[in-house]
Amino acid sequence: MSQFDLVANLQLLVSGLAIGSIYALVALGFVLIYNAVGVVNFAQGEFVMFPSYIAATFLLPAVTVFGTVVHWQLPVIAVYLLVIVLMVGFGLLFNRIAYYPLRDRGWLPVVISTIGVSIFLRNAAQLTWGSEPLVIPGLFNMDTFAIGPLHVRPQDLVIIVVTALLIAFQYLLFERTTLGKQMRATAQDRATARLIGVRVGRIVAITFVYSALLGTISGLLVAPLFTVTKEMGALIALKAFAASIVGGFGSIPGAIIGGLAIGVIETFGGFYISSAYTDAIAFVILIAVLLIKPSGLFGERVAEKA
């Protein structure tokens, strides 16, 4: 490329922002759980993968489930509602099995148990849906559409808009509602929150559910761009994790900006530098940030308590 091509670069920017929005949503899921219980959830990627499979099962005219072809196609809205209801249950169950019994045992056992759940879910998905990737349609039935000279994938715009709405919703939830304030209080200091009458156990459960829903929504958004496979969540989750560190771990604006930044830089880097190393870019940024400013762009200074 000899000459700077504005249109091509703008198109890269849009797709970078779209994938970055996905990282941002998943990163938010990480940060909320981390803030609430002090543990990184290694099954966060499966919070993206599992609902995508469920959605695919009911969106597609024919899907192979346990080796038999089923025809369970439902209207789109019904599918989305169904997936959300199922994932609320899933979040509660996850909290109950993988976190609750280990809540007083430090972070390592919880990390291991979330890894166990992640292995379980990935292989449960393979067992249920086989190893053929599934392709689910986007909301709009067209490849690209034109805004002036720009050709944009409609799904990219859907992703960006939905993410923006979700972030606005979350802001209102945390700033304006009692539930949101209880969630923030729990994140700040569980013991004190309990003292002032917050039912911490319940708030933690709600946090897991909310995090599962963030994963669900990012899965539903991103699945039309990629394919639905048992591995789809793993790399997204790792990069989202990197994004949350780059932004400053524990910081909600940090997670959003870190996610967007990694999506954009990775898209440009994959185009201009090397497509073989696209997946490494996020981690190179991560290591650079960790070395230069370990607390991330928006993080508070990490001081160790004696």
């Binding site: 981390y34 002090g38 990184v40 290694f42 099995i97 993988a98 019994p101 280990l102 045992r105 430090g106 972070w107 390592l108 056992p109 990390v111 291991i112 148990s113 890894i115 166990g116 759940v117 992640s118 292995i119 379980f120 879910l121 990935r122 292989n123 449960a124 393979q126 067992l127 569980r190 013991a191 790792l238 994790f241 990197a242 560190i245 771990f249 073989a276 190393y277 997946d279 490494a280 981690f283 190179v284 991560l286 290591i287 960790l290 070395l291 370990p294 990490v302 160790e304 308590k305 004696a306």
Partner: protein
């Protein structure tokens, strides 16, 4: 000297019996398949012990153990195939190189701890795997590296699973002995002090920076040796074997075994190498069951297999709990515990 202490004597005796029993396995088991698995379990045990020095002794989390494992394997593979070195110097180089890279990774990571350190090591692991896949002129990319020779001493070639079993067994014992020496001497106590409370350790005059680097280097060296042993065992290398998932497997082996116990690390590696094979009759669902088993083990065996065995031993000897058991309860609880 406390060698007259009957409890200690009994412990040494039990250990000796265990080693002899393990050494007799190839005389009883003739299935190449099982002997190969035993060898692989031993190789994993070495990598897991290395992780144990870093995480169990020192409290520093790493999810890059498979990357060092891969660096060891590919160093050994490349020097013996492309450059035609004989196996032993290549193996030594694999250990040294992994240790040096451990130093290079450990040094900048020192200011990180807990989840941050885990993340940085994940990043390092993923980059390493991408390099293994894409640096085709050296690693042959996804096609993998073939034709790696077996080690030999004079005219004795370690070319059967039975012979290789003994090579691995010797390596495991040497590594376990070194780890035990580290644990029970000044260095080990310094590492433990850092794990329990780094600030307090520094206040006592422990050069925490230096000791943490030592732990990183040792973890790298152990993984490098394990990788090299695997390369000359399977004689084929593919970048898939050195993924993030493999690092997770090492971590799970360590925690299931009992993170600050050397015997636990070995037991965890052996158990989790054989568990998928035992579950294989379940066909496609076996890895799923494996995942569930990991969750169950973490919930119901708080101190891993090592803790379980200690409890069993205490129950058999009826009297007072074995010396040091209360200390190890504290240690196991503290591993991974963060100030809330």
């Amino acid at each position: 000297m406390t060698s007259r202490d009957p409890a200690r004597l009994r412990g040494v005796l039990l250990l000796g019996i265990a080693i002899v029993a393990v050494a007799l396995v190839p005389l009883v088991v003739h299935s190449d398949y099982i002997l190969n698995l035993c060898g692989v379990a031993g190789i994993y045990a070495i990598a897991v012990m290395g992780l144990g020095i870093l995480l169990g002794f020192t409290g520093q989390m790493s999810l890059a153990q498979a990357a060092f494992f891969g660096i060891g394997a590919y160093t050994s593979g490349w020097f013996t195939t492309t450059l035609g070195w004989s196996v032993w110097p290549a193996m030594a180089l694999a250990v040294v190189l992994s240790a040096l890279i451990g130093l290079a990774v450990g040094y900048p990571c020192l200011r990180l701890s807990g989840h941050y350190l885990a993340l940085a090591t994940i990043g390092f692991g993923i980059i390493t795997q991408l390099v293994l896949i894409n640096w085709k002129s050296v690693t042959n990319g996804s096609d993998g590296m073939t034709g790696i020779p077996p080690p030999q001493i004079g005219s004795f070639v370690f070319d059967t699973y039975g012979k290789y079993y003994y090579l691995v067994l010797v390596a495991v014992l040497v590594c376990a002995y070194i780890a035990w020496r580290i644990k029970t001497t000044r260095v080990g106590r310094a590492l433990e002090a850092i794990r329990e409370n780094e600030i307090a350790a520094r206040a006592c005059g422990i050069d925490a920076t230096r000791y943490k680097i030592v732990a990183f280097v040792l973890a790298g060296a152990y993984a490098g040796l394990a990788g090299s042993l695997l390369a000359h065992d399977t004689k084929f290398l593919s970048p898939d074997s050195y993924s993030f998932d493999q690092s997770v497997v090492f971590l799970v082996m360590l925690v299931v075994g009992g993170s600050s116990s050397i015997g636990g690390a070995i037991l965890g590696a052996v158990l989790l190498t054989f568990l998928p094979e035992v579950l294989r009759p379940l066909k496609t669902s076996y890895i799923m069951v494996y995942g569930a088993a990991v969750v169950v083990m973490v919930i119901f065996m708080p101190r891993g297999l090592a803790g379980l065995i200690e409890v069993a031993r205490a129950r058999f000897s009826r009297g007072a709990p074995p010396p040091g058991s209360s200390v190890s309860v504290v240690a196991a609880g503290a591993t991974g515990a963060e100030p809330a």
